[in-house]
Amino acid sequence: MTQSSIQSPTPVFDGDLFTDDVLADPYATYAMLRELGPVVWLAAHDTFVVTRYREARTVLASPDLFCSGRGVALNDACNQQTAGRSLIATDGDLHSRLRKILAHNITPRAIRHLETQIQTQADALISDLVARRSFDAVEDLAKSLPLSIVPDLVGWPADGRDNLLQWAGATFNFLGPLNDRALDAVPDVVAMMAFAAEMAAGGRLMPGSVGAGVVDAAANGELPPDRVAALIVGYLAPSLDTTISAMGSALWLAATHPEQWELLRRQPELIPNAFNEVVRLESPIRIFSRVATNPTSLGGASLAEGARIAVLYGSANRDPLQFPDPDSFTIDRANAGEHLGFGHGVHSCAGQGLARMETHALLSAMATSVARIEIAGPALRATNNLINGWERLPVRVVPGN
């Protein structure tokens, strides 16, 4: 046998990517995975994983070869439950049709009319928090704007809002491997779906809301009625936890990189790029998976038809082959906008326009009134299977014009 005919085996990692310790600080583990190879077999989770940018982008940009319709979670129970039902777990024409129905209500142009209102809310919130000086950046800041905007936008009734964040967190835990976090999430996942189904059937979503738009679309025969509940949940959960994660991370990064905050204050036109840099460095979604529809090879790994392959967004976004000095927070980084933190391609986050609008508004309000942000107590990372972010982040702000 000649040297060239020997296939180097796919690297294997047998550790658990979802322990509390790894979830709290995953980047050293991600760097080690990238060193192993662009595609690694995760023995503990029974899936391939893409660790580097180029291969991750290839997977996301090739929905025919790497499909979503057999689910994008890391466990069979969740995949069987969601496959072909939720927007993120459909393919082809069905996906295009559902995406149009869902996304056309929340595209940047559809929500342009919210911009002034969102900026006014952001200004008022930041003004209050600056007056207080000390507050929790997650509880008091990051959660506030999405919770005051998203449920209204979706049309969620006032009596169903108390559990929203708990339900959304559970939805994301259930998308991970079937560990204790995923199993513990099941009652909340079921409760949220049951409530959403009630909303879908009972005409209880506020008239004119995007959620009511989905119910109307089903009534008009544009989509099967049994998909409505999953689609509505698909608006809510991702619009809350992800934005909250990104905003918390933005505050953490601003506090720990005062020179970058200075730069942002001097050049507020950098805010959109700075937000991309936050999403690159602290990608809110950790991982989603696809299934190979044909035998193929990727990054030196041979994948059989039906093989599950996961994309590790937080690792791809710190790939030094794509982003020089990848662990540094650089708000004027030239290619920050090429991150995969919102995914990429046909399944790219449909709500990213709203996420940008909310976070740009908050950062813009802060840039004009906050000279410095300081960490004021013990910060605590959240340990959700799918969402990367902060649970608690006490800060103190120093006002300044």
């Binding site: 940009a61 295009s96 996304a103 595209t107 940047p108 142009r109 342009r112 959109p272 790029n273 290619n335 906008g337 090429e338 919102f342 995914g343 990429h344 391609g345 046909v346 790219s348 986050c349 449909a350 990213q352 326009g353 940008r356």
Partner: protein, 65 residues
């Protein structure tokens, strides 16, 4: 070099306009239009970066001989 917008896919996220405002703009519907056809040689670098940034893969490049 020419750039084409897949209007079925474009959702108006505006990352291309932010990356290369001399090449891309929004039309009245908030969707992307290409202002230079073909793209001015001086703007090709920025235009390529803008194409890479499209979150929904709605832009594609045709190179000319």
């Amino acid at each position: 070099m020419r750039i084409f917008v897949n209007q079925e896919r474009c959702e108006g996220h505006g990352q291309c306009v932010a990356a290369a405002a001399e090449v891309f703009a929004f039309d009245d519907d908030g969707l992307t239009v290409v202002l230079q056809d073909p793209v001015n040689p001086a703007a090709e670098g920025a235009a390529r970066a803008a194409v890479r940034r499209c979150p929904v893969d709605a832009l594609h490049i045709e190179e000319q001989g």
